[in-house]
């Protein structure tokens, strides 16, 4: 069933190939906008790089949250999920995972290229990619809660940012912190293990919370 949901969401994403691409391009564009706004000095850019890439990843992932449940809600599929004889947490987990596959993974793959644009050294690039790999699933999982809570509320797209961004902040701090620490020659180990802990915690808690929120929203 879990697999069915993932498969279905991926199928939908494939039917709209542009979806995957556009999240990615959004990420790329945001990262590339900053040098335009800030100016071309390499030193400043290099200091900014981890923060900018992480903020862009966060925004890109957040912006696609709306799609996680909204369309299922509008056409009545979500009702069917609630009365389906399957575990709702599992369904939600499937949807979050599909969301990550569609939005998170491309970002992770793209990040090194963007890092190079900002002249990051090699191992910082590695740490950047690794931190994104650990961090983006957390974003999708936490995002599922926000998306579930704002379901059917109009202006939900922006409301969800309001709810979810404060929760994303730790991920951002430790994600960008890991890269900075490694660039500064300190190990990134502590940051990375914290990110891992976040991932585990959100894997356990978020689907359950999001399922509860969904039930609340659909009452």
């Amino acid at each position: 069933m879990f697999l069915w949901i993932i498969q279905r969401d991926l199928l939908l994403a494939m039917r709209r190939r542009s979806d995957v691409l556009t999240t990615l391009f959004f990420f790329v564009i945001v990262v590339s906008l900053f040098p335009l706004g800030v100016g071309p000095e390499m030193n400043i850019l290099r200091t900014m790089a981890p923060g900018v890439v992480w903020v862009a990843a966060l925004l890109a992932s957040m912006l696609s949250l709306g799609r996680m449940f909204a369309s299922d809600h509008l056409d009545g599929t979500l009702e069917q999920m609630l009365i389906s004889p399957q575990s709702l947490s599992l369904l939600v987990m499937g949807k979050a995972l599909a969301h990550w596959l569609v939005t998170g993974v491309p970002l992770v793959l793209m990040a090194p290229v963007l890092g190079i644009q900002y002249d990051l050294p090699g191992d910082a690039l590695l740490v950047l990619t690794a931190s994104l790999l650990l961090g983006t699933p957390v974003l999708s999982l936490i995002g599922a809660i926000g998306a579930a809570l704002t379901l059917g509320l109009r202006g939900g797209g922006v409301l969800v940012s309001l709810l979810v961004l404060p929760l994303y902040i730790p991920v951002l701090i430790f994600g960008a912190g890991a890269v900075e620490a490694s660039a500064a020659g300190l190990g990134a180990g502590a940051h990375m293990s914290l990110l891992g802990a976040f991932l585990l915690a959100s894997l356990v808690l978020a689907p359950w919370t999001a399922a509860l929120s969904l039930r609340i929203s659909m009452e």
Partner: protein, 246 residues
């Protein structure tokens, strides 16, 4: 003494109970505030380092403390409302949020006005200040979510979810102090260490904090009464209330 708690957990009886308690807390708030301000401005000596600017402390610290306490209390009531489906606790949580946000704003504002003469800048991005800002966002998120939902039952439950999830965030941000070089004063009031500041300053600050507590309780009670009326307007007892008011 056996108090029948269930009696007071019904919105109707709480409405009347709160009506009786509000004057007490209001008076306490006014008196304490007057005393606190008197000590703060007329008794406490000038600080040898900061000059008179430190007198902001009498509003800044109480506001900062209240902002944090109120969030935790709000989340607690919301959580109780979610778990036990008690309408009253959810209503109290709803009523706390604006006051909490107000204190958070005050802490930020007074801190900024203090920072300019002391640090030479309105704002720095250090852990304490940032976490306070995020706290404001959490409050606003809670309130906007509730405002966006028309059905009060759903609003209560959804608000509770976000308030509880937000609590998880607070300690995390709080401990990120380690990763930041901080300009802000650390805790100078603690039980284990002897107070670092003049006793008059400390008394003034504590009395002002108490005044803020009383004020917060009074305002929250008033707002809870309003929320109760809004939610219960179709019930018989509100109708009777109106009949009596005619």
């Amino acid at each position: 003494m056996a108090i029948n708690w269930f009696k007071y957990s019904s919105p109707a009886s709480f409405y009347f109970l709160a009506g009786k308690m509000i004057p007490l807390f209001s008076i306490a708030a006014i008196v304490l505030c007057a005393v606190g301000l008197y000590i703060g401005f007329f008794v406490a000596p000038t600080d040898f380092q900061q000059g008179e600017a430190y007198r902001i402390i009498f509003i800044h610290v109480p506001a900062a403390w209240m902002s944090m306490f109120l969030y935790v209390i709000m989340a607690m009531w919301a959580g109780i409302g979610l778990a036990f489906n008690t309408r009253l606790s959810s209503m109290i949580a709803t009523a706390i949020a604006p006051t909490g946000a107000m204190f958070t704003f005050l802490a930020l504002w007074t801190g900024a006005l203090w920072g300019k003469p002391m640090w030479g800048t309105w704002w720095v991005w250090d852990a304490r200040l940032t976490s306070e800002l995020i706290l404001l966002f959490l409050y606003i998120g809670f309130m906007s979510l509730q405002a966006a939902i028309d059905d009060p039952r759903r609003a209560d439950k959804a608000g509770a979810m976000i308030a509880l999830v937000g609590v998880v965030n607070i300690p995390i941000i709080y401990f990120s102090v380690k990763w930041w070089n901080t300009l802000h004063q650390g805790a100078s009031v603690s039980i284990t260490q002897s107070p670092k500041m003049a006793t008059t300053m400390l008394t003034g600050m504590l009395i002002m904090s108490l005044a803020c507590w009383m004020y917060a309780i009074a305002v929250v009670l008033i707002r809870t009464r309003a929320v109760i009326l809004e939610r219960e307007r179709h019930t018989a007892w509100v109708g009777e209330l109106q009949g009596a008011a005619r």
